[in-house]
Symmetry: C2
Subunit: 189 residues, 2 copies
Amino acid sequence: MNVRTICLAILQLGDSTGYEIRKCVADGLFSHFVDASYGSIYPALNKLEAEGLLDAHIEEQDGKPNRRVYSINDTGRAAFGEMLSGPIGDDTFKSPFLLLATYAQYLSREQISAAIDAQVKFLINELDLIDTAEAELPLAACNWVAEFGRNAMQSQLEYIYENRAALEEIAGTSSLTNKPQIPAIDAAE
Amino acid sequence: MNVRTICLAILQLGDSTGYEIRKCVADGLFSHFVDASYGSIYPALNKLEAEGLLDAHIEEQDGKPNRRVYSINDTGRAAFGEMLSGPIGDDTFKSPFLLLATYAQYLSREQISAAIDAQVKFLINELDLIDTAEAELPLAACNWVAEFGRNAMQSQLEYIYENRAALEEIAGTSSLTNKPQIPAIDAAE
DNA sequence: TAGGCCATGTAACCGGTTACATGATTAG
DNA sequence: CTAATCATGTAACCGGTTACATGGCCTA
């Protein structure tokens, strides 16, 4: 799932500019498909146009900079169709939060609690994001996908609510420098 | 969450080699924290050793190539502690499967069914992976994290089982080339 | 009047992957 | 006899990000 594919996917839904595509990828539903910033989107659009998959025209605005509006053409639609038919990669889930949780015994209770709170906020924010994105996408399956996302986020939230105490109790039980935790001699005396 | 951090994290659990660390990251529990291959792990270990965060010694074996065994030292443990305390990134979930699902109306029913089957296999495989990885990690919170993962995978699986029919019915209802689906004139005659 | 939004674009960088080189041993 | 596993490493590449340049309008 590279920037090229996502540009075609978004333009399949209607004409758009580099600026709008970036917004879409940064905080729309498409944020769950790829990462992309200006530095990758603008060159990708230029290249796609040069290859003949996109058409472009300048739209003049007063008071605002001109917009370079791209449209997908038949060649582009065919290419997009092939990309969807070809092999797609596996889903990836990378979680710094779970790394922190894994090493909870070496962290203070405060640190773990703060990390959990941050994660809860993050998940709730993701849920909001799904709601707004769902309303915008003119695709039949968009409700199905949004529901998939809500289901995933909510089940994570529930797990955290029900089990956070257990993790907080593990926090601070070991020290990084003494991996095999030998009872302190001071305490034994 | 870069390769450096993951190397320190793994070495915190015991001495290891570049080869073993890669296995760990490729198909262990750590696969959910970062991506890393030989080309990034070996240079990272060299650099960490040069910076004084790791110690290394050669372990000779007969019949097999020598192993370069790394151990984390006090400097390394301190650095790892700081990394865990510092700001960590947000979780990321990138799903080519959901992109495909989003555009289901443009794909054939066979394609969608195949993608769903592949996704189910993928999720079941992830569940197996969690079980094996859980048994290996000598950390108090490892059960908590494994259970988090199982919960996440299972809820995705359940959603797919219960709703796959709905997605399969959306498949093939539009053509990429005719975005506004006007009823065919042939059919009307 | 400072900062944010609109809007496009580029150059330097960076963190990774891919593919290769090397070579012995073991399992199918 | 082939393929995989063990084991280390490098060079070329690549797909992205970061930071910057530019500049007018609008809001606090």
